[in-house]
């Protein structure tokens, strides 16, 4: 049984479980204490000191985020002493912060700015420290932009990178006035062991860490009349974009998003869900091929578990941390890159457009996709397969720039050829989704029957548990697959790279014998991606996930192999999964990288 402790906050009595912090207790009775370094997903740092409160009879103020409620405590969250001290602390933060708000990507979305807006700083303030700081220029990687002059040293990014991702690309360096958030040996962002997942960007309260923006390049392409600009939208964008326009998390805005993209001037609005279905065809075929080679032809060089390769953060993580396991990664490209390769080949041919005039843009919930699109091997079409990647946040910004009243838009439909998708393609956006989509198709290909789950919903691989295991026994397969009769197909699903690492260590130690694992670099999968609307927390990710699955339920087609446009692309162009054209356009290889 848990012990209860009682306290009074602003004269309101509240009883909470032992260990509850003052901040949590205050929240319970709807008292908002401002915070900055605090983040629900992360351990408590208690370093910004914005959330200080007064305990009656105590000289020093207490950080409410880091102080557990004690029996009989009397807390005042807004006394004169608290107010003055908090104001001073915000002033101090501003004095160290390069407040060129009007030029900042986070303008109006900055937590420091919004804190400052709650106070009126009518005196001179403290001395502006920025000129004394000798900040280096902005660090750029293909995915992330890091501007130390805007950093307030809350260490949310540091905690994100170490706790959630177990990467520690970002860390604290130096002390005192020189203390800053830096990288290993202060290497530039593009050289360090960074998976580009953007989880730090998702949690940075200011403009110190933002995605590298490609909005201007996209506008240039749109305005260039010689260019045919196609856009693809990832599954997780449609259930989160609405948040940027004030809708609650989990609002499905697919139709409005398509309409908005058309109004922005894209020549063709297509769907990454289509190429997600295609990924299932190729990756599913690859899994079956590996099983055939291993079980039927006794090829001992075949690597298991096969691992999904759609999350570019996970792929780069593998390249750095487990280069000896790169053959375990499916050679199938991610849906984004499959789409890109087809846009400048299949689509160009069908539409009779010179591929050199096609500009391929993708809207992703992800920052690592920007890096992926810039990989040198991603030129299968003879051109850069995906020219520009923008995040969900950047798309929202473009819609606002264009003066579009997003919420009032009538819903529109995707264009054809590469715009149709199944529910299986949609659920790529949530952790476990790729696994579920693959199982729906693979099981049916092998047995001729639907997966034995009610309404095709493979619940064991769904949900926010950090690691999920599931297995399906294959009975009475079609004659071609008789070697799979009685085989128990073992799978595992993980999200967040610290969990991925745990799984890989088990694989390394030989403790597990999965056939197929799905890993998404971000918590919750793409719905919690580094390019999604800010803020993020467990509840928000849960609501987005629910929206993804309800989108799946509403689709007339729920299985990738039944998508008519998928059938068409194989009939007219690719011929067969793992075929010659597929191999050239839809599969890739990986690069071993250093651990430091």
């Amino acid at each position: 049984m848990t012990t209860k402790v009682n306290c009074k906050i602003d004269n309101i009595s509240v009883s909470v479980e032992q260990g509850t912090t003052i901040l949590e207790a205050a929240k319970k009775i709807n008292i908002k204490v401002p915070t900055l370094c605090y983040h629900e997903d992360l351990c408590v740092a208690g370093n910004c000191r914005v959330c200080i409160v007064e305990q009656v009879g105590t000289d020093r103020l207490l950080p409410s985020c880091a102080t557990p409620v004690a029996e009989g405590m009397e807390i005042i969250t807004n006394s004169l002493r608290v107010r003055n001290a908090r104001k001073r602390i915000i002033e101090l933060l501003i004095s160290e912060h390069n407040a060129d708000c009007t030029k900042c990507f986070k303008n109006t979305k900055c937590e420091l700015q919004s804190l400052a807006s709650e106070y009126i700083f009518n005196d001179e303030g403290f001395i502006n420290l920025v000129p004394y700081k000798n900040y280096k220029e902005v660090h750029l990687s293909p995915s992330i932009s890091k501007d130390d002059s805007k950093c307030i040293r809350c260490q949310r990014c540091v905690r994100t990178c170490s706790e959630l991702q177990d990467i520690s690309a970002l860390t604290v360096a130096y002390k005192g006035a020189n203390m800053k958030i830096s990288t290993f040996f202060e290497k530039p962002m593009y050289e360090v062991v960074c998976t580009n997942c953007g989880q730090c960007v998702n949690r940075c309260p200011t403009g110190a860490l933002v995605e590298r923006s490609y909005i201007d390049q996209v506008w240039d392409a749109i305005y260039d009349s010689k260019k045919h600009v196609v856009v693809q939208t990832a599954p997780a964008v449609r259930i989160a974009l609405g948040e940027s326009f004030g809708l609650p998390p989990g609002a499905i805005v697919t139709g409005q998003m398509v309409a908005a993209l058309k109004r922005l001037g894209f020549d063709s609005v297509l769907d990454t869900d289509f190429s997600a279905d295609l990924t299932i065809m190729e990756e599913g075929a690859e899994l079956l091929n590996r099983l055939r080679m291993s079980l039927k032809e006794n090829d001992t060089t075949v690597r298991f578990p096969m691992a999904t390769s759609c999350s570019p953060g996970w792929v780069k993580f593998m390249e750095h941390a487990y280069p000896e396991y790169l053959d375990n990664l499916s050679s199938a490209k991610s849906p984004q890159q499959m789409f890109g390769a087809l846009a400048k080949t299949y689509y160009a041919r069908k539409r009779n457009i010179d591929p050199k005039n096609i500009v391929s843009v993708s809207v992703m919930p992800c920052t690592a996709k920007k890096y992926e699109a810039n990989r040198p091997e991603m030129h299968a079409s003879g051109y850069k397969d995906v020219d520009y990647v923008v995040t969900t946040r950047e798309l929202a910004m473009m819609i606002k720039q264009a003066g579009i009243d997003f919420l009032a838009l009538p819903e529109d439909d995707y264009d054809s050829l590469m715009g149709e998708s199944s529910g299986a393609g949609v659920i790529f956006g949530a952790t476990g989704g790729v696994m579920e989509a693959a199982l729906r198709t693979v099981y049916e290909l092998v047995t001729g029957r639907e997966v034995p789950f009610e309404h095709l919903n493979i619940l064991p691989v769904r949900g926010m548990e950090s690691v999920k295991e599931a297995s399906i026994v294959i009975n009475n397969p079609l004659p071609e697959w008789d070697f799979l009769d009685g085989v128990e197909l073992k799978t595992c699903v993980a999200h967040g790279l610290s969990n991925a690492k745990m799984i890989m260590e088990k694989v390394k130690r030989g403790e597990v014998n999965y056939h197929f694992i799905e890993v998404m670099a971000c918590p919750g999968g793409c719905i919690g991606g580094g390019g999604q609307p800010i803020p993020t927390n467990y509840v928000i990710r849960k609501k987005r996930t629910d929206a993804i699955y309800s989108e799946d339920e509403g689709k007339p087609i729920r299985k990738s192999h039944e998508n008519p446009e998928i059938k068409m692309v194989y009939d007219d162009f690719l011929k067969e999964p793992l075929g010659h054209k597929s191999h050239k356009l839809l599969h890739t290889h990986y690069t071993p990288r250093n651990r430091y």
Binding site: V44, R81, G176
Partner: protein, 393 residues
Amino acid sequence: MATKHLMRLDLIFKNERDTADILKKVMTKSNNDIINELISSGLKGRGGAGFPTGLKWKLTADEVSDEKYIICNADEGEPGTFKDREILVRVPDKVWTGMAACAKIIGAKEGFIYLRGEYDFLKKELLKSIDEFHLLLDELNFPFRINIFSGSGAYICGEESALFESMQGDRGEPRNKPPFPTQKGYRNKPTVINNVETLAHTYSIFKYGVDIFRDLGVQDSRGSKVFSVSGDTPIPGIYELEFGMTLQRFVEDFGDGDAKAVQVGGASGFCVPRKKFEKTIIGYQGKLTGTSLPTGGSMMIFNSSRSMYNVLHNYLEFFVEESCGQCTPCRVGTQQLLLGIEKVKRGELPSGYLDKLLDLAETMRITAKCGLGQSVANSFSSIVENFKEEMIY
């Protein structure tokens, strides 16, 4: 040179060569008896914060854990303090005895000396002394070992929780409290962390009894204290003196006849101007406005040739560099205080800006995460308030 008013005690530095006997005596006593002795002796932490030592040991003993530690804080980083080094050089086994007694009470199998990086040259002799002490422990069949951990030079690692982080191989940053070290210290296990001098005093208490110790000092400041005397004095050095002396007497004995201020407790302590010497007592109770001042032992005397602006500037430069940088009030506040007094001095900001800085220092005192940031206000406010004209002109 003999002092006129203040009696040199030299209890701690008496080289008695009876460690084996005292250790044996302590080991045969019950834990309760030892704790009660310490509590009634009135011994408080000699690092400066002044937490009752007996209570600290008791709290840690009461925690349930099969892994506990006793750590001797020998990081001695406070500017103007150099007494712990002397204790470790001259009477190290008194410190080891204190650690062993604590280990017995709390149930620790391992203890550490967190040795200031600059004291690395002491290591060889200390290890020799520890080895000899281990033999005594073996004779008594007491399973306890002392190790030395070398610090890497950051002032902040003298703060107990930053010290644990440093020992664990992490960045030396103070932790949130609670939990306190008695609950979660080194490796998140219940830990007693005591200053070198505190542990040496326990030896005196074990040897001479509670009364001898308790009869020294005044009110809540019992016993003697080792002071590091420096600055404008003809007789700089280390002195063990009784608690409760007035600064006036101290200055009469140690000053050069022209003392205008004494910095009590190092850079993080208080500056007392001449006019307050008579009213200021050295002890634990009260604040600057009261009658007594706490100190880790640093006593810096400044005569009238010294610029108190330069003194403060020096301290602030020290803090700007030695703040760990994690919490806002300390990281940014120290920079603002330093730049602020520079600009006022140069006439770039009006003298009224000092009031804003005093207000900032108070904010730092009540909001900073650890003792470092909290105590910057001590020297800042006491120097600025008492020597305002020197800040401006």
